[in-house]
């Protein structure tokens, strides 16, 4: 085995950033030194090669160990940089994995909490379902109970589709709904007696308990309607036809309903219009103008201004007192 082969055994495996000529230069330098040492031993009179070799190595030391020390000295800085870089990368990886694990655990906790909340939600809604009762009063809140009011509760429970529930007020004016889901609702009222059709918004919250909502509906006024006949010279022995159109528009103010209606007389002489301003308990009269223009007086006793008078309804005209 030559000097180079012996020294080469001391090298560690090749590293990726190792200079290409490093190992060969170390081997060449050591081999030259050992060869010179052997030559000197030979010149000093030692003839046996094995003895020469033994004497050289005794003085020189282990060539492999020296070669490894020189290689390490040359590569130490590079290897330390590599190790530092690897250590930093490892720390970053560990931190990243730790962060991911922490994030995953936090996400799991959040998801579990959300699922629990979702699972508990229907129970909570059922517990807090409100009931609502509408109490209808004729004319004002203090008025008598209004029976027969048809109520449509049209609404949308929170996060659900729109539904419609129908009820009719009983003899005490009460229409009860529920239990129903909390949400935004609207009530639509339909009063057969007055022809009322109105809409009102109601919000029912989940924490609300039983609610009673009082609602005033227009009065069904019993009124005496004195009408001056539009006939200037009325002397017919037979009844004449008189048509009356009543279509009041009601508004609620100061706990009372007010209506503005249109009153039309249709006779053989022509069609006559006037406007009526109605209030609860009023005696309903046509305008003065009509009275002044036409002297004859027609009287409708105990007329319900809303219910009996319908569009294009025909009333028999009774003969009244004639004035000139």
């Amino acid at each position: 085995m030559g000097w180079s082969d012996e020294a080469e055994q001391g090298f560690p495996p090749q590293r990726h950033r190792e200079p290409a000529a490093l190992r060969q230069e170390i081997l060449d330098e050591l081999a030259d030194h050992l060869a010179l040492a052997a030559q000197r031993e030979s010149e000093s009179g030692v003839e046996d090669d094995r003895q020469i070799r033994a004497r050289v190595l005794k003085r020189f030391g282990n060539p492999a160990a020296i070669a490894r020390a020189l290689w390490w000295g040359a590569m130490k800085e590079t290897l330390m940089k590599d190790w530092i870089q690897i250590s930093i990368n490892a720390v970053i990886c560990v931190a990243l994995v730790g962060f991911m694990a922490l994030f995953y655990r936090q996400m799991q906790t959040t998801n579990t909490a959300l699922l629990n909340a979702l699972n508990e939600r229907p129970i909570a809604v059922e517990v807090t379902l409100p009931s609502v009762e509408f109490v209808f009063h004729r004319g004002s809140i203090e008025g008598p109970s209004a029976e027969g009011i048809e109520v449509n509760l049209i609404g949308k429970a929170f996060n659900e589709d729109t539904t419609t529930i129908k009820e009719k007020s009983d003899g005490r004016g009460r229409a009860r709904f529920g239990p129903i889901r909390a949400g935004q609702y609207m009530i639509r009222l339909s009063d057969i007696q007055t022809g009322l059709l109105s809409v009102k918004e109601v919000t029912l919250y989940s924490n609300d308990e039983f609610q009673t909502i009082h609602v005033a509906v227009p009065p069904t006024t019993q009124a005496v309607l004195d009408v001056k006949s539009p006939l200037a010279q009325y002397d017919a022995s037979e009844d004449v036809q008189l048509s009356m159109f009543m279509n009041p528009q009601w508004s609620y103010k100061d706990d009372s309903w007010y209506g503005i209606g249109r009153f039309v007389l249709v006779t053989s002489e022509g069609v006559f219009n006037t406007v009526l301003y109605l209030k609860r308990g009023d005696i309903i009269r046509p305008e003065e103008k009509l009275i002044q223009t036409y002297g004859n007086r027609l009287r409708f006793d105990n007329m319900n201004t809303h219910r009996p008078i319908k569009r294009n309804q025909i009333f028999p005209l009774r003969r009244g007192s004639r004035r000139r």
Binding site: E25, D28, D32, H33, A35, F60, A65, I66, A69, L70
Partner: protein
Amino acid sequence: MDPKLLSGTVDMLVLQVVAPEATYGYRITQEVLKHSQGYFQLKEGSLYPALHRLERESLLKSNWVNADSGRRRKYYRITASGKKALEKKRIEWQKFSVGVNGVLGVPTHGLV
């Protein structure tokens, strides 16, 4: 001699031997041995690591020469920084030896 006494002076001895002219490892050991009257025997296990370290510290420079034997031979020569470092080490050594001799009662002549 005690190797511990030599270990702190290897750099200085190497720089001193290389300073006059470029030379190589084997010859350095022989020069040190000759000038110390056979007292200093530089071990190769100390010499070559010292040579390579002084080269990395830019106190020495090296080049390869093809020798008559057909082998490559690595020659070292001192740099300007090496000369300054050698001068500094020499002064330190003189102070050190004066101090040690003073303590030991050994007379010194011509040393600072």
